[in-house]
Chain length 135, copies 2
DNA sequence: TATAAAAATTGTAATCGTTACAAAATTAAA
DNA sequence: TTTAATTTTGTAACGATTACAATTTTTATA
């Protein structure tokens, strides 16, 4: 458990409960774009009373404070990402794994009168592992 | 009803049933990124027996044949897009409306050993309409 | 420290989009 | 025309998420 996580939450005005710190810690050490289910499975052993509702509440709270990012894949599940630095994602169509990749440079879109606050870039294809299996 | 839609389906080896033609027609005349629910609501009056299962089946079939595209938004609903030309999307965080915008030019990502087959780009922000309301 | 108020967590039930599945209807083939 | 194959349909099941009220925990105040 990282003692620093509590401090970061406190700075954002979020009181650092055991659950919140655990979830924040988890996302700061598992850059695997976990789902709520995965977080629940991994944290349940150490916090037996943990409920999924708390995880949902907490993640929404973190999102509102910009502490984390999220995205939804085509199988209708939300994934959470402790890495809030600009980056893109690659999802393998075969194994489903999601990789972090550098955000490509793009010119700003010309949208007269629109205010742009964010951008999500997703690549699809076959990852190296799966391509090697194919041979 | 566009008589040409049936022909396009036939070319892809898809037998052009009333339902399929109607759904394909719908997507070729409504570039509003509709959900299954919206398609259902709009087509039900003219095809009273239409079921949502058929819409799901049909859209999956069209996707497999590359006739349409789809994407999932953060509210966990799939949107379908009859425009298969390369383009990006902008979603207004206020009203939720999804706009088509030109795909920005990007350099190909350097992913040694990966095969890239597609790319989805999503911008977020406030659309012109909503910005004018804010004043 | 005791007590009251506020905040956070929990479990259950409800919701919503989607999928599974088997029966019925339609279409194509023999 | 009869049979087989395809398509559609309705219902039920499923899985992720949200609503909500009851507990529990924390914080503030006396």
């Amino acid at each position: 458990m990282n003692t620093n996580s509590a401090e970061i939450l406190r700075e954002k005005g979020i009181s650092p409960s055991v659950q919140r710190v655990a979830i924040y810690d988890y996302l700061m050490t598992h850059f695997t774009h976990p789902t709520v289910d995965e977080i629940f499975k991994d944290l349940s052993p150490s916090i037996p009373t943990l409920s999924k509702t708390t995880i949902y509440n907490t993640l929404t709270l973190f999102l509102e404070h910009g502490l984390i990012d999220s995205f939804t894949t085509d199988d209708n599940t939300a994934h959470y990402d402790g890495n809030v630095q600009s980056h893109a994602h690659f999802q393998c169509s075969q194994c489903g794994e999601i990789y972090d990749i550098p955000m490509p440079k793009t010119e700003a879109p010309q949208l007269e009168g629109f205010e742009i606050n964010g951008m999500k870039v997703f690549y699809y294809g076959i990852c190296e592992k799966c391509r090697k299996k194919e041979i």
